[in-house]
Structure formats: structure tokens, C-alpha cells
Subunit: 742 residues, 2 copies
């Protein structure tokens, strides 16, 4: 745990510059608006360690894969989140001396992210070697109102002498991915121009040929345009002025971004210029007002207020803030990258995290169309999932959704994950069920979702096999959610969700047949579905699936052979060897009993209604102590179950760990980017954990508990167009309903 940021209910504050944590700060203070995002790089030159990072949703590059030994079925490429044209650069010189926070001493440094309005501000006094001291204030935002626009207000005031201030405002398209398998450049340089402070850069991705235009224009105060410099994919506009002591020089930089996902390639440059020009026309203050208003609508729906514990309060808002910066649900081609716009690690944009963790958050804090958009994403990619399964030898429309993807194709390549961590298919089916029961909107499953379910059910029906030895169906060679076990037989979670998928799909198909026989007949024709004949094998599997369980107990066994391990609690591990994934060799991790994230317990969380409380408790008591929570997705599920079981201390511990995972950098990896998808789990920990929210038929039920150290908490959920506000304090619980505004 690393704590260098101030606790505040609405803000993230760094007082005094911490160069040793700067890369983490660049992640934590990142801004985004669903369409593009920007790490909190200093505007000025910074010669210290940092990761310049500017990312655009949906614009990716299929990097050549890197494997030890190629195996049949591996994808040819691994989609990379692309570091794109840097637009936040404003280099500053004072009397010709460069401002560089790795060189220039500064005092009174404050970096502040105001989450309520999505604005990043830095202020400090820079003490130049030439004797001039300047007050600097830099503020920026990425508009949540007009998602093609960003704006920066950069102000500098010489305090003790008159000084010549020079700004070089740049667009730099010569960017290299930090995460590149063979150290290659992923961009081609198409166009660059600049004229009197109005410039743009157009670049195109190799292979995928996405075109990206970034334009800028400026307003000034105290400085004047001086020159434009244009090099390949790089433009710089220079502004200069000489100011008296106490006089303020301000550069307003308006940035417009457009790409070929939304415009034809011949127009992206012009449209980017239009965005920038319109922003300038509107002006910084008006843009900021619109942006703030947009954030206030977000918070109106999504905020969780925790009183009496500012750390908990700051944590949950930090999570909600970044989720909203990452995904807004406006484009069915987009999804929720595990690092959002805050870093490059993991590549791809879509994991099972979306269905297992993110959908509940978006479903309850947005209009239901947003969650439906996420479901749609998988429906659009169904053909690719079928091709993916075919590569692995599956037939008859069986679909295996990829472990990681940008466009539906698999782009992960470790066999134990790519080919074996197939439970992802279950989560994708579960999300359809989850959406349907929460929203009451059956139209998605009846119109599109059933096709996804059918492909998934067919996959499971082929993936199991009959064991003559056991006289039951078994599922061999899988990796469960606990990735600290690879290639195991009969992972309880995977087998359980497979059976559930078969049951649910069969029930949906039966309903369809009854509801609209003609439409169903068309569907059967399209998918060569002979119904209910095809369900005969499904029913056999449902009845005879092997689900390992410890004899004489209600403990479900994570996999075959689990009880043959040396079973011991993680608390007995040497703390110097934690996290074990940074200290132990992989084989040792695999042999151990230690669990990365909820596995059996993930199934119990999903299918809670199938188990009595004693069973839930027995499994939690058995597995949680062996769980090392080395996945960001782990603590939230445990927090929810702990709350349900009345283990308040454990629930709060897990909540704090999930909500402040990046703020307190528990895993020493915030510098690589934030754990965006697990942030939705944090929200679940409050609403489903402490709040005890459950869906029972057409209504929501709550069974709140109030952690001792909190005075109260309050959250809102949008349930079928009605905003339910739940307030829990020492006096009790208050429910109130309002009509949803969006």
C-alpha cells in the first residue's frame, strides 16, 4: 500500500510533486470521456520518467503475437490499445529557459483532480535558474458534453521580474507504443499543417488503416502568435510575449479529435478542425460549464455518498468517476478496456469483466440502453465467436467468445487461457439473463440474445464429454476464474455455469416457440436448429453433469484433486513472498492451494438463489482464507458475500481493498494504468454487498448493513425507469423513488 495522495470526498490531491510516483499519478489523474482519453502528462516538457499516453476508443493495432512455441489455434495477432497523437503538450520557456519539472525547482505544487466536474488542475511556483519565479496554473478537461473536444487553460505569471514567456503548443503524431511486441511503430504519417496557431496532424494505423485527425487552435492573453513549425506528423505553434511582474500570460488550447470510425477518411481532418474551431468560438468558460453540467447529470444517477469515512467516500467516487470516463454506451463498437484510457497493458478492449462486473453498474446508473449496447456488442460479434470455436474443432454453430478482443477475433495467446479459460462464455450468457431480469426488457433476448445463447449452449454441449469411467459427463482441460490453476479437470464453476447455460437457453427457446411460432421457425431455419430435439443431449448433460463436491460436506470442489493439495490459509504465508505472483515460480503457484480470485465463490455469487446460507457460508469459510486476491476482480465478490454472511470486518477490508486498489496502489502497478473493470466491482460491493440489493422477480429487495466506521451511505439505482434512492444510517433505512431523468 502506497499513500501519498490526500483524502478528500470529491477530489484527488497531490500536494508537493512526487517524481517517484509520477507515473502512477499520470494514471490516477487521467481524464477521458468515453471517446478518447489522456494520461495526466505534464503539459510542459518533462525529462523525468513518465509515460506519454493519449488513447482513442476503438482505434487499435493488430500487433504480431509473441509466443515461445506456436500452437495450432493461436491467433496471429494481439490487438494493442494504441498510443496516439499527443495533444496536451505546451512547452514553456521563461526568458529562454525551459520549464521542466525534472529540472526546474518548484514550490507549492498542487495537482488536483476534481471528480465532481472532471477537471484536472495543477498549480505551482517555478523557480528558474535565471532568477525568475513564476506562478503556473494549468487546467484541462475532456468534454463529456462534446466528446470530440478537449481544452487546456495554461497560465503563467512572472512574480518577481518582467519576463519573456514562450509557449510551444504541439501536436506530436510520432508516438511509439510502450506496449509493442517487436518495438515497431504502428502509425503512418498522412498529413500535417499549421497556420497562425491553427494546426493538425493526421495519422493512419498500419494494417487496420484507422485514420485519426487531431486539430488545435488557440486563444491567448499576454502572448501573441509568433510562428508555426511543421515536421512529419508534428506541428508546433509558438506564442510569445513579455510580461511585467504580476502580469498573467494565458494560452487556451482547444483540441478537436476525429477518426475514421465516425467520418470518411477524406473528412477527418476538416471535421477535427471544425471541432476545435467550434470549441474556440464557444470559449473555455462556456465549454467548461457544459462539461460540468454533463458530469453533474452523471453524478445525479451514479453517486454514492458515504459519510463518516472520507477514504471510503473518495474510493467509491474515484471508481465511479473512471468508469464514466471510460465507457458511455453511445457506440456499440466500443467496450470497457481493462485499463480504459489510462495505460496500455493487457491490450484489447473486451474481457469477460464487462459481463461479470461492469454490466450491473451501467445497468443501474444509466438508462438501460447502455447495458443493452454492451450486450449488442457480443451479438454483433457472434459470427466471429463461431469462427473462433471452429478453429478449435467445434461444429454446428458452437460459439466461443474470445478471452480478449477488439473486433470479435481472439487476440490472446497463452493456451491455458485462450483455449481453456472458457468460463467467459458462461458470463456472457449470464449477462443476458441478468439484464433481462433486472430491466424486465425481454426484447433483447427474444430478438438477438437467443442467438448468442444458442451458440454458447452448443459450445458447452460439445465441450463436455461422457466419461465411461465415471458414468457422468465431465469437462476436462479448463482454466477457471482462478488463473492460479491451469488445465484442470472439472472446474466446478465452469461446469456449473455450463449446465446453467444449457438450462437457461432451453427455457428461452421454449418460450420463443410459444410466443411466436413463425418467427421461431425462421430462427430454427437460420441456425439449423431442430427444436426441441437438439435439447435432448442438453437435458442429458444437465442431468448427468459431474460437479465435484467434498463427500459428506456442502463444499464444492474447485476442481478434481483440489483436496490432495496442502491446504493452508494465505495468512500463514511469509509476507515477504506476497504477492506470490511476483515471488513464486509459476509451477509453485499452480501446485499451491492459493486462489487468485473468486472461483467456486464466483459461481455462488452468480447463482446465490440455488444455495442455502449454510452452503454459502461453508464454501466462503473454506475458500476465502486460501484466496490471495491478486486479481483486481477478487475483493469485490468476497466483500459482497462477506456482507451477506454478516462478516462485517471482512466485508469492509475487501471493500477498502477494491475501492482504493489504485489510489493506494496495493499491487504496485498503478503506473501501468488503472484497473477500470474491477471498479464496477467496487460499486457492486456497496450496492449488493452493504446495501444487499437483489432482484426478486419484478422488484428490488435490499438487506442493508452499515459498517461500524461509517455514519451513513446513500446510493441510487435506476430500476426500470425509476430512480430508487437508498439511504442507510444508524437510524435505519430510507427508500425513496424518483423518475429517471435521462
Amino acid at each position: 500500500m502506497i499513500r501519498y495522495l490526500k483524502t478528500d470526498p470529491w477530489k484527488i490531491i497531490e500536494e508537493g510533486f512526487n517524481p517517484q510516483h509520477h507515473q502512477s499519478s499520470e494514471s490516477i489523474f487521467s481524464l477521458g470521456n468515453g471517446k478518447f482519453g489522456q494520461r495526466a502528462n505534464h503539459e510542459e516538457k518533462y525529462s523525468g520518467k513518465h509515460l506519454q499516453g493519449s488513447y482513442v476508443a476503438g482505434v487499435y493495432y493488430p500487433d504480431k503475437t509473441r509466443v515461445g512455441w506456436w500452437k495450432n489455434g493461436y491467433p496471429e495477432y494481439f490487438a494493442k490499445v494504441l498510443n496516439a497523437t499527443a495533444w496536451s503538450i505546451i512547452q514553456v520557456q521563461v526568458n529562454g529557459e525551459e520549464l521542466d519539472l525534472a529540472v526546474t525547482p518548484v514550490k507549492d505544487f498542487v495537482r488536483e483532480l476534481d471528480m465532481q466536474c472532471g477537471v484536472l488542475t495543477r498549480s505551482f511556483t517555478a523557480c528558474f535558474a535565471n532568477g525568475v519565479e513564476c506562478k503556473v496554473t494549468a487546467q484541462r478537461f475532456l468534454s463529456m458534453h462534446n466528446e470530440n473536444i478537449a481544452a487546456i487553460r495554461y497560465s503563467i505569471t512572472p512574480l518577481n521580474a518582467s519576463a519573456t514567456i514562450t509557449f510551444h503548443s504541439k501536436l506530436d503524431g510520432v508516438v511509439k507504443n510502450h506496449d509493442a511486441n517487436y518495438d515497431e511503430f504502428f502509425w503512418e504519417y498522412i498529413h500535417q499543417e499549421s497556420n497562425q496557431g491553427v494546426g493538425s496532424v493526421v495519422t493512419r494505423t498500419k494494417k487496420t488503416a484507422f485514420e485519426l485527425a487531431v486539430a488545435m487552435c488557440h486563444d491567448t492573453q499576454g502572448v501573441d502568435w509568433k510562428s508555426d513549425d511543421v515536421a512529419q506528423a508534428q506541428v508546433a505553434c509558438t506564442f510569445e510575449g513579455t510580461l511585467a511582474a504580476g502580469e498573467e500570460a494565458v494560452l487556451f488550447k482547444y483540441v478537436g479529435i476525429e477518426n475514421s470510425l465516425y467520418q470518411s477518411k477524406d473528412k477527418v481532418n476538416a471535421v477535427a478542425h471544425d471541432h476545435a474551431a467550434a470549441a474556440r468560438h464557444q470559449g473555455y468558460t462556456a465549454l467548461l460549464q457544459e462539461h460540468t453540467a454533463a458530469w453533474s447529470r452523471v453524478w445525479e444517477m451514479a453517486d454514492i455518498v458515504i459519510k463518516g469515512d472520507d477514504e471510503a467516500q473518495q474510493g467509491i467516487r474515484f471508481n465511479i468517476f473512471h468508469l464514466n470516463q471510460t465507457y458511455t454506451g453511445k457506440d456499440a463498437r466500443l467496450n470497457i478496456g481493462p485499463k480504459g484510457f489510462t495505460g496500455e497493458k493487457y491490450g484489447g478492449s473486451t474481457y469477460w469483466d464487462t459481463e461479470a462486473y461492469c454490466i450491473p453498474f451501467y445497468m443501474a446508473t444509466k438508462n438501460q440502453e447502455v447495458a443493452r449496447q454492451l450486450l449488442n456488442y457480443r451479438h454483433v460479434q457472434l459470427e466471429r465467436a463461431i469462427e473462433n470455436a471452429a478453429k478449435l474443432g467445434f461444429k454446428h454453430g458452437a460459439a466461443l467468445y474470445p478471452m480478449v478482443t477488439m473486433n470479435g477475433e481472439e487476440c490472446h495467446n497463452e493456451w491455458e487461457i485462450t483455449f481453456e479459460e472458457i468460463h467467459r462464455n458462461g458470463a456472457i450468457a449470464y449477462a443476458i439473463y441478468n439484464y433481462t431480469r433486472y430491466t424486465g426488457d425481454a426484447s433483447y433476448v427474444m430478438e438477438k440474445g437467443w442467438e448468442v445463447l444458442l451458440g454458447i449452449a452448443r459450445f458447452w454441449a460439445q465441450r463436455v464429454h461422457w466419461s465411461a469411467n465415471k458414468g457422468m459427463y465431465v469437462m476436462h482441460g479448463v482454466t477457471g476464474p482462478n488463473e492460479y490453476e491451469n488445465n484442470v479437470n472439472n472446474n466446478w464453476y465452469t461446469s456449473y455455469i455450463a449446465v446453467w447455460c444449457l438450462k437457461y437457453t432451453a427455457s428461452i427457446l421454449d418460450q420463443m416457440k410459444v410466443q411466436d411460432e413463425a418467427a421461431f421457425a425462421d430462427g430454427c431455419h437460420k441456425w439449423q436448429l431442430d427444436w426441441p430435439q437438439e435439447s435432448a443431449q442438453w437435458q442429458d448433460i444437465i442431468q448427468k453433469m459431474y460437479l465435484p463436491q467434498q463427500e459428506g460436506t456442502s463444499i464444492f470442489l474447485q476442481q478434481d484433486g483440489f483436496l490432495d493439495k496442502v491446504l493452508m490459509p494465505a495468512s500463514e504465508l511469509d509476507s515477504a513472498e506476497r504477492p506470490i505472483n511476483q515471488h513464486w515460480s509459476w509451477d509453485r503457484i499452480l501446485r499451491s492451494c492459493f486462489i487468485k480470485q473468486a472461483d467456486v465463490l464466483q459461481g455462488i455469487y452468480f447463482f446465490e438463489e440455488d444455495f442455502d446460507l449454510a452452503t454459502i457460508k461453508a464454501n466462503f469459510d473454506f475458500y476465502e482464507p486460501m484466496t490471495v486476491h491478486e486479481s483486481s476482480l477478487s475483493p469485490c465478490v468476497h466483500s459482497i458475500l462477506a456482507a451477506q454472511l454478516g462478516y462485517e470486518e471482512k466485508a469492509v477490508e475487501m471493500y477498502m481493498r477494491t475501492s482504493r486498489l489504485d489510489l493506494d496502489d496495493y499491487n504496485h502497478e498503478a503506473h501501468e494504468g488503472l484497473h477500470i473493470t474491477s471498479m464496477a466491482g467496487t460499486w457492486m460491493a456497496v450496492v449488493q454487498g452493504f446495501g444487499g440489493m437483489r432482484v426478486k422477480g419484478d422488484t428490488l429487495t435490499f438487506r442493508p448493513m452499515l459498517p461500524q466506521q461509517w455514519e451513513s451511505y446513500q446510493f441510487r439505482v435506476n430500476h426500470r425507469g425509476v430512480i430508487k434512492e437508498v439511504t442507510v444510517n444508524r437510524e435505519g433505512v430510507v427508500f425513496s423513488d424518483r423518475v429517471a431523468v435521462e
Copy 2:
């Protein structure tokens, strides 16, 4: 199976040039002498598809590893067999027109490898576009007598007109590995010179800083030296002459090779020149005589004569020939690379193949010092094996020998192999036992081998764990010899050999204590060995190790859960899907019952004396039908067991497959290089399989069978200084003894 070569008892013959098989021919016709080797690249320019390949024993490069996701314990590098300065190049022009077999039509092409004397000859008539026809004969050898020398006699005779013949004899140090992870050059260029047809190139490997000098000088007939050209790491000497029709131009090229494993770096160039000059002084014919004599001494010991089946005869000699070209036992730093000097694939030089397959061959066909040298190799690397085990968390001198190595460090990086295919440790211990019982020389195990055994035994004692559930010791997370199963629990072979190692090591330590108490006390001090106290845990493991077996049968189970698979014979597979490793995705292979190579049967082969014939038969009948033999190491062990069980047809099928694996290119991969280590298995298939040779105490026993299609076979084995010649024909078996000559 691809058959384009003629069958001949002593020769490999290609009649008519087959460009489509040229890369395979380059492998098959390769030459080597234990110190360096050369693929059968054409001397002339060849613009068609080929792999220029020149390799020097012990000179390697630690290439950066390439992995999908880094895991703790992975080695930083993967040692590559290094493609080194090309020295066989003699470009030829006739009246200025280049001879290029991809362009110039040729007739009467014959390529012939005479295995009896280790000489490669090509002859053909080239029909130039300019109308000149020339007879070409090119012959080369790599001296088995003086292993620093190679010689080429290149002859060309214009047949139908006078012509100007130009030879450009080259050394080219600008070589790139075909097998390079990041497409980098591995060599630095140190020196090059050429003066009147005497030239050299010195290059140095990056990182490892091996220096290699290759020198050349020439004799000529009908042409004269014309010029020298020197570029960085490249020298060319030009010879030219105008010849009447029917007149022969000959270039004799003498090549001397030296490297810094044997000489100080300031001397390698001079010494290489000395080698070349001495060779020239001696002359081609005398060199060839020495070389042929050396080969004849090899065949005297190692030949196997099969009458009545030339394919079988050619096959076994091809295997014996290449084994002798690859390893001669003169240098304890060298070992037997899986591709020898015939290709780059697999990297590294040392696998468990050496101990499991190669040692019996070298033990019986060479002076016993050669096998002892191979054992020494592991003793020298013991500290590295201990370091390797420590990286994986093992303590107290536990040793895990690497899966692949050049210098003792692990350089393989797939977790399921690197960390889990630990049975290799067992084979290394077994080889010590095998050597000792065969040679009767206990001095190795008593002086050095016991230290290797102790490290290995300590590894096993820590690698198993007590299963409270089973009330037995188990071994989780291993990969057996059958690499079509990964990360399994209780692989019978691994567990069996682990227990055997503990027993054998304990018995050796007990013997040592009795034989020389003082020396043993020193050893105990060195290794912090408290004896026999340390054996208490070993004995417990020996008594309580879990070895999976099918209830009510004598079938040993390959691993936990094996019987839950769908069990079916490989013969029921669609032949279009064979080999499965080129058609099935990895997960499908893993889930299937199909076996890559002997696993349980490898154990039964090693420890045959522990099992009655009914048990051997039951296990062979159970496993062999599920075995797809997709490892080159598979057929030999099955051939031996089939012979023992009287399954003659299967024994012969497996023998033909192993002996002609590369000649008939069963696996469509001869172009990558030959399967050198499995060639020793071919020898075992004759001697231990058909010959039924076994060691019983101090004597050899034989139980020969004669395959129906053979008239007779004869082999010799060196047993404790006595050459036993065994002749098996329809009349019976003749044994005769002679004193070993070497």
C-alpha cells in the same frame, strides 16, 4: 512419407536434382565431425530456396526470450545454435555466366553421400545459356582425423567449347540465424584479410564473446589466382583460367577453423590459418585418406549389417553415421544437439535425450570414456542445476537440471515444460546407473555421480507433497514424457522414477559410507548431508508414494483422471487430421487420450526388471494403440517393447519409422534439420529390440529375433573392453568376442 532418394546399403543418393526437396537434402546430406558441421549447401550460388548453414560446436548465442506473458522463474534467454561463417561457397562463372542450379539447366545430376567414408559428392552437366556445357564434380569432407579442417575439390570441365572459368571462393561472416527471436544479427565483425588466395574472417558472438576464425587457402589446376576482395567479414578470392574443351579446371579449397573455446582470442586467426596451410601442405588426397581411415575405425565398432533389406540397412547406417558426425566425446563441454549440425530448430545442445537415448549407443560403440564424458557434462553443471532449482523455490542443494541448455542454465520457457517436465532429472540419474551397470566402472558414481544423484534426490524429496486426503505422497503439476498432457497430477512415470532415484541414491550413499568412511565424511560436510538421517524422509516417500493404477488390473495410469478420457485407438482417427499436432488445437490434443511418445511405457522400458511380462504386455496393449508417435523419440522404445513381447510386425513397423524418419521424412520436417538424438534410439531398436540385449550383472544377455523380411543382421558392442559381435540369421545366432581396438 516422402521418398525421392535411392536405396543403397552405404550411400544416400539423389539422382536428378529435386529443388522442391533441396532444403531436406541440405539436412540429409549434411557433414560434421563433432567440432563443426555444414549443411549440404551447393558450393555455387543458389538462388532457389535453401538454408545456408554452418555450425560450430559449443558456440552459442543467448537470444532474448520470446514469451506471451512473462512468468517468474523463466530464463532470460534462449540459447541458439549459431549459424556461423559460411566457408563452402565457391561461386562459378563460365564465360562470365553464373552457375546457379535454380537457373542453369543441369543434366545427369547425382548427389551422393558415401557414409562409409564421410564424403559428399555432386556431379552434373550444366548447360549454360551461352551454349557451353560443362561437367561439374564437387566433393567435400570435414575431416574426422583433424577436426579443424574441411576440404573441397571442385572440378569443372567445358565439354563442347573452350571457356573461361572463374571461381570466387568465399568466406562469408555476415550470416543471420534462421532461428532468431527478434531478427537480430548475433555476430560482431572482428577481422578479415585475404592475400593471394589465402584469406580469413574472424567474428565474435555478441554477449557470449566467442571468437571464431575461419581461414582458407587453395590449390588450383587450370586456373590461376586473379584477385582478392575484402569487405567487412567477407573475403573472396578469385581464380580464373581459359580451358579448352575437355580440359579440367580444379579448385582445391582447404578450410581451417578455430575458436576461442580452444585458443586464446589473439591466436584464433593465426591458428585457423595454420590449420588451412597444413591441410594444403598435406594435400587433398592424403587428407581424404586420413579421413576415410578415421571413418573406417568408427564403422569397425559401430556398424550394423542388415542383409536382405536394403532400406533397413540404409536406415540404420544413416543413423549411426549422423550420430558419429555430431558427437565424438572429445570435449566435456559439448553434448548432442537435437539437430546436431544439420539445422537450427530447438536451440540449445542438451536435452534429456542424451541420457535416455544417446548414452547406450555411445557406451556400446565407443570406448567407455565417451559415455563418461557425457555424464561428466552434468556433473560440471551441477551448481547451475542447484541454482535453477533455487529459482523455483527449492532449497538445501536440490538440483533441477534444465530442459534445454548450453552451459547448464535453463534456456527453455514454456512453463509446462520448463518448470514441470521434471522427469528429465530422473533420466539423468538413470544414466549414471545405466553406465555403471554396463561398464562395471563404479568410479564415476563414487567420485562424482553421487553428487549429481544427491542433488536430484533432494529435488524429488521436496517436489512431492503429503496429501492428507490420500494419506500418501503425491506429485502435482508435472508434464511427463508425453507432452500431449500438461500440468497433470501423479504422472506415473515421473513418480516412479522419482522413487527409484531416492532408492538408488540412498543405496549409493550407503555403499560410499561403507567403502571409504573418511571420504564420505568429507562429502557429507561439503553437502551438509546428515546421513543416514536425511534418508528417513526418503524412505517414507519410497514407502508411501502414490502411483496411480487401474483397479483390478496391472495397468499403470499415465496420470490422475486418465480413465475419464474418451479412450480410443489412434487408428480410428481421420488420417487427414494426422499428425494431430499439425491439425488440432492444443486444448483438444490435451483433452484427448492420444499419446505423443512413450510415457508409462518409457518407465516400463527403463525398469523392465521390476515387472513381469504379463504386466508389460497389458500396459503395451493398453497404451500403444493410443500412441500417435509424433515425437521422434517414440517409435524406438515401442519397437524394443514390441520385440520383447513378440509383436514382430509392430516391432518392424516402429523400427522402419525410427530408422528412416528423416530419410523418408515421415513428419515433413527434414528441411529443418535431422532428428539426431532419436537416431540413437534406432540403434537401440536393433540391439536391444531385435537383438534383445540386456545387462545382467556383469554379463550381457541376448534374446534375438530375426524379422521375417531380413536374411540376417549383425552388430557389435563394446562391453568392458571386449567387442562382442552378434550375428543373427536363419540358422541361429553366432557370438564372437574380440578385444576392443580403440
